[in-house]
């Protein structure tokens, strides 16, 4: 809410106060679900499918049940419950058929982890192995096996999603703007290409873990390492047909999430084990290996783009087709498909656009939300494409981008009009281009090339993203004043490392005019205690919860002023306050402290007025609605955060090995609420993007076995992998409805890192990469125009991925 911004007088917003929970985390005192044990708690383990697709002919659990210390054994046969966020397609344990490598087929709870593991290993499953469909392009063929023959019978959110029964298509999202064929006919150039990327694992340092206790009277307590306690509660209750009053979800510190913990995962199964074990609490924590295949990943994508460009370099038409590999279950992938579909052209104006985006089932571990929600994946293709188009038409790639960026007055793919306060992608591009000395090598860089034999290239890529959320997404905050005048903030927004608690405390302190030390915000979340927040996802937390916090502050102050007015015999309009007290504006000594008002003001004789001061604030996105299912037109974006990366890369032309010498990232954040937390997001996201760009991805064999479900063969960046120079820049075009003008930026730093590097490699050694990650070998092959290695199963599998 920009009208609240008074930049000259901001005391807390814009600074870098200590992170609220830093000391707890630094001392090891912060409690994560991993660290918890409850009295009488049992430990769970699961039996997992070694096959990508197989019919379950029978399961023999007798040996497991006979093992001393085993308290519950479950198979799919007795769990006729399905879960799903948008398409309800997943049993808690496989029934009838397993649909991916690593899928759970049976579960055990026992006195110790060791006994549970032994019992799970004693469960005998008789499989009839079936031919899997592994590649999402193959899954679209007429004769492809159906991953979900019952797709037509599944409950789904029909206002938004369109499954196609009798196919492997879990959802098709469409967007139609203008007349794309007419645009192509008028175009001077037509450029069409396809870009691909594999599935990727989130790698939160704390793997998924949940403790559940199913108590008498179907009262269920759940402690879980998750992003969205209310989503877990609501989906859990939907699955078990329980009223929301009977389930309580508690989330202590969370050891990283990145979208992988956005939905509901282990909680229902663990709760069923508890029920079967007579109500004893049960804990299950995924091993690192299980994190890769029992739990979900990021979807693979094949993105085909056809662009029509006019003689002056303006894009006049673009047809975009996305094939998202959902894996075995739809989970978030259908919504990734939708959100990517309506953003598919990036921060550029395309007058005539056509998008078809498909979510395709395959027999692989399933896809879910992952930081960027599809944008990391499709921006790989899009920003490589922009570079290649510029090359084809003979225009400088920066100029080509600048010419086509969204500017005030531009119309987005969905028909939304850009205003001066929407944000400024052009400025982000300019900032990063200047930082890396785009367009030419310095004398020093040229000398370095001579000395090393390596080639230096500079590349840029732009990005944008709006929160992918229902148009009716809301958040709320409750402020409770303590009798010493301090304030407790209750929110359902979780702290997953992104700094939500600290930033919200800043907003509250700023709005109340209190010292930050007076604001307490609990590190843990509890659906029974905290007011509703939809989910901690989509880079929407600060905007929605921040606005709710501002309104809660106003409510708290109004209530305090009302009581103070009686005490001081003054109208609210004639009073003011500082961090300690409310006073009559022109008679400062006529004052009453917040402490005296906090739980009710008592006169000297004991007679009292008022009562505990509680401020309530809520915020719901303004003016949004579902997009039209046929045309994709409408207003769906809470806010657009734009950004860009500029990269200098050094490539060994002999080997394809490369190293990032410098990266500069700029984001139009509206207002940097906490400078160092923002920089932490910017750098952390960028390095995660570097992993996606350089080395990460699921590798399968031709039977659909995941070959790299561990850190041995799924490397992530280490401290040694940092670019030599890292710059983070905040552009601040205030958002009209953002708290103090701020926008979300949690996901954005990860987007477009890969294409910026790809574009720089192109400049350095002239090779065109259309598949990420770009391993040294991929660069070498591209330089030599040799056939790419294909062990990702994003295309037709060949025989290069023998174990």
């Amino acid at each position: 809410m920009l009208e609240d911004a008074t930049p000259d007088t901001l005391k807390h917003v814009g600074g870098s106060p200590d992170r609220i929970e830093a000391a707890a985390k630094l001392t090891g005192q912060a409690l994560y679900v991993s660290d918890m044990t409850l009295p009488g708690m049992l430990y769970a383990q699961v039996t997992k499918s070694p096959h990508a697709r197989a019919r379950i002919r029978g399961i023999n659990t007798s040996k497991a049940e006979a093992l001393p210390g085993v308290r519950a054994v479950l198979t799919g046969a007795e769990l006729e419950y399905r879960i799903g966020l948008y398409v309800v397609d997943k049993y808690l344990l496989a029934r009838g058929e397993v649909r991916h490598f690593g899928e759970a087929v049976a579960a055990v709870a026992a006195d110790t982890l060791e006994i549970a593991r032994r019992a799970a290993d004693l469960i005998e499953v008789d499989y009839e192995v079936l031919p899997p469909v592994l590649n999402h392009m193959d899954a679209l063929k007429d004769d492809a096996p159906l991953v979900h023959p019952d797709l037509g019978k599944y409950d789904h959110v029909s206002a938004v999603f369109t499954p196609i029964p009798g196919t492997n298509i879990a959802n098709q999202s469409k967007l139609r703007k203008g007349d794309v064929e007419k645009g192509f006919a008028e175009a001077e150039w037509l450029i069409e290409r396809e870009y691909t990327n594999p599935s990727v694992q989130h790698v939160p340092m704390e793997t998924h873990v949940a403790i559940a206790q199913w108590k008498m009277g179907d009262e269920v307590d759940i402690w879980t390492s998750c992003q969205s306690p209310f989503a877990v509660r609501n989906l859990f209750c939907y699955t078990f047909r329980l009223p929301l009053t009977q389930v309580r979800v508690m989330v202590p510190h969370v050891g990283g999430a990145f979208g992988g913990k956005a939905g509901i995962h282990l909680e229902p199964l663990v709760a069923c084990l508890s029920r079967k074990a007579g109500g004893r609490p049960v804990k299950f924590q995924a091993t690192r290996e299980e994190e890769f295949s029992l739990l979900p990943c990021r979807s693979a994508l094949t993105y085909r783009i056809k662009t029509g460009v006019a003689a002056d370099g303006k894009i006049i038409a673009q047809k975009m087709t996305m094939y998202w590999d959902a894996g075995a279950y739809a989970d978030y992938a259908v919504n990734v498909t939708r959100a990517s579909g309506y953003s598919a052209a990036g921060p550029y104006e395309v007058p005539n656009a056509w998008v078809d985006a498909y979510t395709v089932y395959t027999n692989k571990p399933y896809g879910t939300a992952y930081r960027g929600f599809g944008h990391v994946e499709f921006f790989w293709g899009l920003e490589r494409h922009m570079e290649l188009v510029a090359q084809v038409i003979g225009m400088d790639p920066l100029e080509f981008r600048r010419l086509n960026t969204l500017k005030p007055g531009s119309i987005t793919l969905t028909g939304e009009k850009i205003t001066p306060n929407t944000g400024n992608p052009t400025k982000c591009l300019d900032v990063v281009a200047e930082s890396i000395g785009y367009g030419a090598l310095t004398a020093e860089e040229t000398a370095r090339e001579k000395a090393t034999g390596c080639k230096i290239g500079k590349g840029i890529a732009a990005l944008h993203k709006a929160p992918a959320m229902p148009p009716f997404t809301s958040s709320s905050i409750v402020l409770k004043m303590n009798s010493d005048g301090t304030v407790v903030v209750n929110t359902g927004l979780t702290e997953i490392g992104q700094g939500a608690n600290t930033s919200l405390a800043q907003v509250v302190a700023e709005r109340l005019g209190f010292d930050l030390a007076k604001i307490r915000i609990s590190p843990d979340k509890d659906t029974d205690r905290d007011p509703y927040d939809w989910q901690t996802v989509a880079s929407k937390g600060l905007v929605l919860a921040g606005n709710a916090a501002i309104l809660a502050c106003d409510d708290l102050l109004a209530k305090a002023y009302e009581v103070a007015g009686q005490v001081l015999r003054a109208q609210p309009a004639d009073m003011d306050h500082d961090g300690e007290k409310i006073f009559v504006r022109h008679h400062r000594d006529r004052a009453v402290t917040f402490a005296a008002l906090a739980i009710g003001y008592a006169y000297p004789d004991g007679n009292a007025i008022g009562g505990p001061l509680i401020g309530v604030g809520r915020y719901i996105a303004q003016g949004l609605a579902n997009l039209d299912k046929e045309t994709g037109q409408g207003n769906c974006a809470l806010d657009w955060t734009f950004g860009a990366h500029g990269v200098i890369v050094e490539v060994d032309p002999e080997s394809g090995e490369y190293h990032v010498l410098k990266i500069c990232s700029a984001f139009d954040v509206g207002k940097a609420v906490h400078a160092e937390i923002l920089r932490g997001q910017a750098v952390g996201g960028m390095v995660q993007g570097l992993g996606t760009a350089c080395c990460e991805g699921y590798i399968y064999d031709e039977q659909g076995h995941l070959l790299n479900p561990s850190f041995t063969d799924n490397k992530i960046p280490t401290a040694r992998d940092l670019p030599d120079v890292i710059e983070s820049v905040a552009v601040e075009t205030p958002q009209l409805d953002g708290p103090f003008g701020a926008r979300g930026v949690g996901e954005h730093p990860m987007i477009s890192v890969a294409p910026a590097i790809g574009n720089a490699i192109l400049r350095a050694v002239g090779c065109e990469l259309t598949h990420m990650p770009m391993r040294a070998e991929d660069v070498w092959r591209a330089m030599n125009q040799a056939a790419p290695i294909d062990n990702w199963i994003t295309k037709t599998p060949n025989k290069s991925c023998k174990k």
Partner: protein, 162 residues
């Protein structure tokens, strides 16, 4: 079962442990010191880094019986008299903590580094924490914190505004 006597953060513990118990499991389950985390159980991620007789090791790759008669230091031993250690303080000041799950192991790797190399170069720092995965921070603010803890203030980044 074997009886072991081990000094952890200056406190002596005597416990019976089975041969196959890892030091990490021993610390977390038997002693209730849950500051050290398990991120992979296979020595790749470093979330369980502790000091064994002063040297950083992955506690998931040490068997509890091996530490009989030896000294273990964990993150719980860092803060003294209600005050954060120099390293913890620098991590806090430099915003080197996000989700916090790598933090304990990271702090212990840095402790080992600063004892053997009080004035580390950036390369020294990167080598010392290369075995500690962090998925949140991108390491930069951690490196800045280590510089700070070693008394070096140059090279401090900071958000730029355009």
């Amino acid at each position: 079962m074997m009886r072991i006597t081990v000094t952890v953060n200056g406190q002596v513990y005597e416990r019976d442990v089975p041969g196959h118990r890892t030091l990490l499991h021993f610390l977390r389950q038997d002693l209730g010191l849950t500051g050290s985390k398990e991120g992979c159980g296979a020595g790749e991620c470093g979330a369980c880094t502790v000091l064994l007789d002063g040297h950083s090791v992955n506690a998931c790759l040490v068997l509890a019986p091996e530490v009989d008669g030896r000294c273990v230091e964990t993150v719980e031993g860092q803060a003294k008299d209600g005050k954060l250690s120099t390293i913890q303080d620098a991590f806090n000041r430099n915003h080197a903590v996000q989700c916090g799950f790598c933090t304990s192991g990271m702090v212990m790797s840095v402790q080992d580094l600063l004892v053997r190399t009080p004035k580390p170069s950036d390369d020294d720092i990167k080598e010392a924490i290369e075995g500690n995965f962090c998925r949140c921070t991108g390491y930069l603010q951690i490196i800045e914190a280590v510089r700070d803890a070693s008394g070096r203030t140059e090279g401090k980044g900071g958000l730029k505004h355009a």
